[in-house]
């Protein structure tokens, strides 16, 4: 019974809850049992709040019993990336510097989940302050890919994708600064969506790079992502960059799933050299399916995308060096006193705290950002990167004059082995080469499973991109493609994943 519950989609659970076939307490308990059985191996959660989730489930069950009209996802549990503030629940951002910190308030996304009646199962593992593509930079140890426990689950939101892939939660929240929702989705065989920048509030999200960060859904189906998107999306007066417009009609688009007459652009610059053959093959097959379903497919050139990675790795560290200045050991988090100094100054305490509290990747990026913003180098690095950003936005604009959506492989490879790229930062950064342009321009993107690579049998992903505020197009195209692929596979791709062998599983 429990196994059936955890293998259900959020939409199926919502239906069973609405028709009283299941109670929220049963659904939450089934997921807590699954977490207890497999998370020691996957390590996707940093903190599980069983008591809080059951209490929220009991409350929603009572409201339903009293005849109250509830949100469609009421009672469906969810996991939240540990970068979002959760009142009364630890929030660490995968960093020692925030170990044990308990926020006194909720992020807007979290508040919206709670007001929809969604119990929060816990907080998911991540690369420290969302810097990384493998979840190996977490101060609390890496997450393992449920498809092969020796491999990475992607990053920085590897925990959020892995809980969904390992059936430890039906839904999760991630954040995507350069691909941290989409790339983990690709390598775990799940669905991940980065909404339009400003489409989901960033209030209460511990900022990495404020002009790039965007929270969004991690799920097993396109419809589930749409349902979750409609809960968390919409204007928030607490975030001055929040778009003041209605949430796009994403659920209707996911249910429509019709690509006949749509123009789909294949991005010439993404998918060539450096892309694994199996990734490329599954991508080509997906494009062929869209064509069979009546979409017109054309090749589109976005020449400035070749410079996106370089611009991103200047803009991100610059913003991060500023955003992470607040972690100074004065008002919250870790405070370390320097050794051998009597009566140390605040400056000396800050420097000792930041050395002890931050990991290597965070230090590397803060120092890189400090350099890029420093006098004498600003124009050559940060200023030039901002110009590249303009060129990339112009490329998108020109491309969307020709086509309705753009597509590419999501990540250049399937999941690599834990440890393989840890000593080679540039090689790690290349994982995000296809996802970064969307963050620079603020356009929405989705990754959904496109199959298994022949050479290693691991999941591959296809990325769909749409113009800003046209998020519904991702769901329409994604759901249509998902339906054709699932028919071809004879079931979901995740059903082909090896069973985790932990106790009780």
């Amino acid at each position: 019974m429990n196994t059936d519950i955890t293998r259900s989609s959020a939409a199926e659970l919502a239906h069973a809850l609405g028709s009283r076939e299941l109670s929220s307490v049963e659904v939450v308990q089934a997921h807590l049992d699954r977490i207890a059985a497999v998370d020691a191996e996957v390590h996707a959660y940093l903190h599980v709040d069983g008591e809080g989730a059951l209490e929220a489930a009991r409350a929603v069950d009572q409201r339903r019993a009293s005849g109250e009209e509830l949100h469609v996802l009421a009672g469906v549990p969810i996991a939240v990336k540990d970068v979002m503030a959760t009142q009364g629940l630890p929030t660490t951002c995968g960093s020692r510097i925030l170990q044990g910190w308990i926020p006194p308030y909720d992020a807007t996304v979290v508040a919206r989940l709670k007001s929809a009646g969604m119990p929060i199962l816990g907080k998911t593992n991540m690369d420290e302050f969302a810097m990384g593509s493998s979840t190996e930079h977490s101060a609390f140890g890496p997450t393992h890919n449920p498809w092969d426990l020796t491999r990475i689950p992607g990053g920085s939101g590897g925990g959020s994708s892995a809980v969904v892939a390992a059936y430890e939660a039906p839904l999760a929240i991630g954040t995507d600064t350069g691909g941290s929702i989409r790339q983990p989705a690709s390598v775990t065989g799940t669905v991940g969506v980065k909404p339009t920048y400003g489409g989901v509030s960033r209030y209460g999200l511990v900022a990495l790079a404020s002009s790039l960060d965007q929270a969004g859904p991690c799920t097993r189906t396109v419809l589930d992502a749409a349902l979750l998107h409609s809960v968390i999306g919409g204007h928030d007066p607490m975030d001055s960059t929040s778009i003041d417009a209605p949430v796009p009609a994403v659920v209707e688009a996911a249910r429509r799933a019709d690509v006949a007459g749509l123009k789909v652009g294949v991005i010439k610059e993404l998918g060539g050299e450096g892309y694994q053959a199996g990734v490329r093959a599954r991508f080509d097959e997906s494009v062929a399916l869209l064509q069979e379903a009546g979409a017109e497919v054309v090749e589109v050139s976005c020449p400035s995308f070749d410079y996106a990675l370089a611009a991103y790795y200047l803009i991100l560290p610059s913003e991060a060096s500023s955003n992470l200045a607040k972690f100074d050991g004065m008002r919250y988090g870790l405070r370390v006193l320097p050794e051998g100094i009597e009566d140390p100054s605040a400056e000396q305490v800050m420097a000792a705290t930041r050395d002890a509290g931050f990991g290597d990747e965070v230090k590397r990026r803060i120092i890189l950002g400090t350099y890029a913003l420093s006098s004498g180098y600003y124009d050559a690095y940060y200023g030039q990167a901002q110009k590249v950003r303009r060129l990339i936005a112009q490329d998108f604009s020109a491309a969307f004059d020709q086509v309705d959506v753009l597509v590419s492989p999501t990540a250049p490879t399937t999941a690599f082995r834990l440890g393989d790229k840890l000593d080679d930062p540039m090689s790690m950064y290349l994982q995000d080469v296809a996802t970064i342009p969307a963050n620079l321009a603020g356009v929405p993107g989705m990754s959904l499973p496109s199959g298994l690579a022949d050479e290693d049998g691991l999941p591959t992903g296809i990325q769909i991109l749409a113009p800003a505020t046209k998020d519904e197009r991702l769901y329409n195209v994604g759901a249509a493609l998902e339906k054709m692929l699932v028919d071809r596979w004879g079931g979901s791709l995740l059903a082909k994943a090896p069973q985790l062998t932990a106790k009780g599983a």
Binding site: P104, P338, R354, D355, D360, R364, S374, Y381, R390
Partner: protein, 98 residues
């Protein structure tokens, strides 16, 4: 393109308020050199007539009516403080002893 020296990295770490050990400094010089070489590619493209773009949205100043509304109480605001004293954050000395 000027390569970063060990002294440069130590200076930057000082500006960023991070005490790096000698071993960390040595490793960081090499890694930052490789990264900088790679990101310097941005200098190949952008001409003078391209307007820099710092943000995906056109930003405007957002204000709200000047009305009193609830905020975090003192206890909640201090709940994560490493040290507190008399309802205030207690911090190491900011000024020199003399």
């Amino acid at each position: 393109m000027s390569a970063l020296s060990r002294d440069d990295v130590a200076h930057l770490a000082g500006l960023a308020r991070i005490d790096l050990s000698d071993a960390e400094l040595d490793r960081m010089v090499g890694e930052l050199g490789v990264i900088l070489e790679s990101v310097a590619k941005v200098q190949e493209v952008a001409a003078d007539d391209i307007e820099p773009m710092s943000h995906p949205l056109p930003l405007t100043n957002v204000t709200r009516p000047d009305e009193v509304r609830p905020s975090l109480g003192v206890e909640a605001a201090l709940s994560g403080a490493p040290e507190q004293e008399q309802q205030r954050f207690s911090v190491p000395r900011i000024l020199d002893a003399d």
